[in-house]
Each structure stands twice: as C-alpha cells, then as structure tokens.
C-alpha cells in the first residue's frame, strides 16, 4: 500500500495535491497544454543546434534547408578535434584561459556584489540611496559608447593584455548587485538581530546567515554571469594569443568558411552546451532550496 503511494508521488506531473490549495484539474490541464505549445517554439534553437552538429556536410548545404537530420554522423566532432590538435597555441591553453577568466569573473562578481548588496538591503547609512540609484541607472547606459572610455581606463591602469582587464570590470557589473539586494531585502530582519545578539560580526552574519538564505538568488546570478563571461572573446583587451579564451579560438574555427562548415556546426554545439550544463547544475539547486526556505517574519 505504502509502496504504491510513493510510486504515484514520484511520477506525478504536478506537486502532490495535499500540498497545493486552490488548484483545479481543469486549470492544470489547460496550463499543461499552453506550456506544450509554447515549449515547442521555444525549444526550436536547441533542436536546430543539436541536429546541425550531427549533419554530414551535404545535408548542411541542402536547399531548401531542413531542421531535422537524416543521416546523423559524428564526423563534425572528429573534424573539430583534428583542427583543435593542429592549433598553433595548444588548445588546453585556451581552456585554461577560459577557466581563469570565467571562473574569477563569475565567483568574484557573485561575492563582491553580494557583499555590497547586504548593507544596501539591510542597513541604514548616509549615501545608501545614492549608491544604489547609481547602480540601477548605470544599467541603462549603452555599453557601446562606454567601451572607448573603458579601454582608456584599462590602459591607464596598465592592465591591458592581462586577464585582469576582463575580470575586474566583470566583477563590477550593476545587475548582480541589484539582483542580490532585491532578494536580501526579503529576508526577515529578526534573522539577523538574533545573530547580532549572539555577538556575530556583520561579516559573519553576511556569510553564515544571509548567503545561505538567498541561495536561489546567487545561483541565478551565477548562471547569468557565467553565460556573460563564457561569451567573452576578449579580443579588445587581450593581444597575446596565449592569453585568449576558448571562445575566441572556437569562433576562429567556425569562421573558417565552407570547408569547415561541419566543424563550425560542432563549435556552435559546444558553445551552447557549456552554459547549458552549468545552467542545469545551478538551476536544479535553485529549485531544491524551496523546500528549506520556510522562514517567518
């Protein structure tokens, strides 16, 4: 008896009924149908990228173009690996560069933005409003025109042609601070008060109490930032081939013209697959935290 119940629970599409109030079966079905139709259109790019990388060359150039692959092959990937092995700078070097730039850019931004967001969300001090407004407004200025001044500043600082030229600006993007501040605002103040009475310093409160409680927020921020950093080719600031990230090398390969169309399709797959894997890792954790976050004011 108990076994069938757990079986049912596991395979039910919607959350178990006893937990959900105010839900009708008709409503559930309607929502499911809507999601199925919309999901079809939204999934198109995924379908196309996966199919393209499995197409042999003649199918890639077929006219009229078809989305689905007829004779799937892994040729494109073997091509890609051959090209990678021939590259002038060992490909592992590009991968290392990407790990450094994306890793520090993502972790650094999440930590610095959260650290600054905490006082902005939960403390009163002179200048608070001004600082916060500046961050929000900064997101509205077109980055195309700030690129030139940015370049000048990075040259003045002498960090041109250095990983720091990509990592430091990435740590100070406005969006992360705004996102974290909004989530921290929702935390009940009582949570911090009790820790303060126990003699915890503000930094300890931030690290031990605030951060674990806003886990969905910083995981989401990590997804955004990872995607941003992963897409960075660094071509503006990094001159040495040995410093350039994988994204740059991959784009070079896919710019190889007709002969490399197959490898290019494989590159598109790799470029999309990495952030998707990162997304899946983070997102499943975002959704897990919900069961534990039942705090009360």
């Amino acid at each position: 008896m108990a076994k069938t119940a757990s079986y049912k629970k596991k395979y039910r599409f919607f959350k178990p009924r006893e937990k959900k109030l105010n839900r009708s079966m008709a409503g559930n079905t309607l929502l499911f149908v809507i999601m199925a139709i919309c999901g079809f259109f939204m999934a198109l790019p995924l379908v196309m990228i996966v199919n393209n990388c499995l197409k042999p060359l003649d199918e890639l150039y077929q006219f009229p173009p078809k989305i689905l692959v007829r004779n799937p092959t892994l040729e494109n990937f073997t091509d890609l690996f051959t090209i990678m092995n021939d590259s002038w700078v060992p490909f592992s070097r590009y991968i290392l560069n990407t790990i450094i730039i994306t890793g520090f850019g993502t972790v650094g931004h999440v930590i610095l933005a959260s650290l600054a967001a905490y006082p902005l969300a939960k403390h009163e001090f002179p200048g608070k409003k001004l600082l916060f407004n500046m961050v929000v407004l900064s997101m509205m200025f077109s980055w195309t025109v700030t690129q030139i001044p940015n370049y000048m500043i990075i040259s003045w600082l002498g960090i041109n042609n250095n990983y720091l030229a990509l990592i430091l600006p990435a740590c100070s993007y406005g969006m992360g601070l705004y996102l974290m501040k909004q989530f921290m605002e929702q935390l009940p103040t009582s949570l911090m008060e009790s820790a303060r009475l126990d003699g915890a310093s503000e930094f300890q409160i931030f690290w031990k109490i605030v951060m674990p409680n806003v886990k969905p927020a910083w995981l989401t921020l990590a997804i955004f930032q990872f995607q941003q950093m992963w897409g960075n080719t660094g071509s503006m600031f990094l001159r040495d081939e040995q410093l350039k990230p994988m994204q740059f090398a991959l784009q070079q390969i896919s710019a190889g013209g007709t002969a490399r169309a197959g490898a290019a399709a494989a590159v598109t797959f790799v470029i999309a697959a990495v952030p998707i894997i990162f997304f899946l890792l983070c997102q499943s954790n975002v959704l897990e935290t919900m069961t534990t976050s039942g705090m009360k004011e």
Partner: protein, 309 residues
C-alpha cells in the same frame, strides 16, 4: 542636567561623521565592489556624457562643440527620429507583453514538480542561452518559397505568393517584435523563478483561510506582493532590454534595413559609433536613450507600487 547630557549625545549621534563611523563595517563591505564600479562603470559613463558635447573621431583629441550634437540629433537627423519612433513602438509593445509572459511562464512552471520544472525552465530559457539562437528565424522568415512561414501560409492558402518578410518595410517591425518576444524570456524570467521559491508557503494556507478561492486570486493577493522586489528588478531588466534592441534587427533585417523600417536607436548609435567613427555623436545618442530609460523606469516603478492593492 541629565537631559542636557542626553541632548549632547543625541546631537553627536545626529552628525554625519558619527553616522559614518557607526556604519564603518557597512562601508568596508561596500568598498571592494564600489571601487571597481566607479572605475569601470561610473567613470566611463561620465566620460561618455562629456564626449557627447564634443566632436571625437577616435584618432584626434576630441574638440568641444557644445549642444551641436543634440541639435543635429533632433532637428536634422531624420533617421534618428525614425529610429526613435521604432524604438518606442518596440518598447511599448515588447516591454509589457514580454514582462507579463516572463511572469506568467515562471508562475506556470512553478506549478510543476521539480524535475519537469528544471526541463521546462531550460526549454523556455533556451533562446537566451543559445548565443545566436535567432538565426532559426532567418530560416522561418526567409523570403523565398522555402521559408517555413511562407511555405505554411502558401499551403493553407492564406497568401498567394511568397512574402519578403525581412525586405518589405511593412513586415519588418512586426516580425522583429515577434522574434524579440520569443527571445525575451531571459534575466527577468529566471529571477522570477528564483523569486517564486522564496515566497513563504505558510502564506498560501493563511490566504486560503482568509477566503482566497482560486489560483488567480492567490497570484494577485499573495504571490505578487510577496515577490515585489523581483518584480522591480524584472521591470528594470525589461526596460534595458526592450529599449536597447539592436542585434536581432541587424542580423535579420540588416543595418541599414530597407527604408530604415528596422532601425532602432541602438542600431543608429552603432552606425555612428562603429561605422562612421563619430563617437561624440554616438555618445549623444546614448545619453538621450539613457534619459528615456530613466524616465520610463520612474513611471514603471510607480505602477508596480500598486501591485496587490
């Protein structure tokens, strides 16, 4: 006597220096981020605004020319006015619609059990994560008989001959709006999903006792007010996205597009900034766009203050 002392203490506590000293720890926590923020964001923005009052071709030192860029922008540059009109149409349509879609989809996805939720989130977020995903649309909107949209419409007998979706000035803007909507489940969408996780579950039970009868009432009276911070965040992201549309227009309709039907403020800016190397003029365009977004943001934040009332 005691009251005098108390007054002195109160006076001391009221001074700015005392406030700053008291919150020393706060400023320490703010410092690392804001030092970088001033260097790499505030300073460049201020420099750009200053450049908007100059002529600057990126080779010679900028020369001051007062309000000339702005005067030219509004009085002589017809294409700017077209692009401004397009951007406003774009923002007014895609902004609210995509905001509501983000919210709606995030809310529906939240109803599913956790594994399906992850998969659905991925599918809906896919267009934003797959770099150049909108290239799918160049297949769909292709102007010959083999374009998917033309093919289907011809088969159904809705149209008699193929339409040049991306070359006909009539169709460019509506098509771009559809593509943008499809692309727009990004930052706001994910932050809504995360926001929904933070809503206190016991509030739903309390609301049910208070007479909330269906999921729509629950959404308006419980869920939305509880996730107001995320709604504000989503709105700002939506504004920055819908006013800054450029990539899809350039990729699908070209820059310049036929009759400038797909021109937006940012494509115009890119035209001057990266093609004609007139950075002063480009900066002036950026400044105007900035003011436009700031104004819209003020308005939207006011509207959002009314949620759940």
């Amino acid at each position: 006597m005691a009251s005098k002392e108390a007054l002195a203490v109160a006076k001391k506590q009221g001074t700015l220096m005392y406030q700053i000293k008291k919150n020393k720890e706060c400023y320490l926590m703010l410092a690392p981020y804001f030092i970088l923020f001033f260097l790499f964001t505030v300073l460049p923005v201020l420099m750009s605004i200053a450049l908007s009052f100059t002529y600057f071709n990126m080779l010679e030192w900028p020369t001051f020319n007062g309000w000339n860029n702005y005067i030219k922008l509004f009085l002589e540059d017809d294409i700017f006015l077209i692009s401004l009109k397009n951007t406003l149409i774009f923002a007014v349509v895609t902004g609210p619609v995509s905001y509501l879609l983000c919210l709606l989809f995030a809310w529906i996805i939240n109803e599913f059990s956790s594994k399906i939720r992850t998969v659905l989130t991925l599918i809906f977020y896919a267009p934003s994560i797959c770099g150049n995903a909108y290239m799918v649309w160049s297949l769909i909107l292709s102007g010959d008989r083999y374009g998917y949209l033309n093919g289907i419409l011809l088969k159904l007998g809705v149209i008699n001959e193929q339409k040049l979706w991306m070359q006909d000035a009539k169709f460019i803007l509506p098509c771009l709006i559809v593509v943008q909507l499809w692309l727009s489940l990004g930052t706001g969408f994910l932050s809504f999903i995360a926001g929904l996780q933070t809503v206190d579950k016991s509030m739903y039970e309390a609301a049910a006792l208070d007479g909330v009868k269906n999921r729509w009432q629950e959404l308006w009276y419980v869920t939305l007010p509880a996730m107001k911070p995320q709604l504000m965040f989503g709105a700002v992201m939506q504004i920055t996205q819908s006013f800054a549309v450029a990539d899809i227009s350039i990729q699908l309709a070209g820059n310049p597009s036929v009759n400038y039907a797909g021109a937006t403020v940012v494509t115009h800016l890119l035209d001057y900034g990266s093609t004609r190397f007139d950075m002063g003029y480009a900066s002036a365009i950026a400044t105007v766009l900035f003011l436009l977004m700031v104004g819209t943001n003020k308005l939207v934040q006011k509207l959002l203050g009314r949620v759940g009332e």
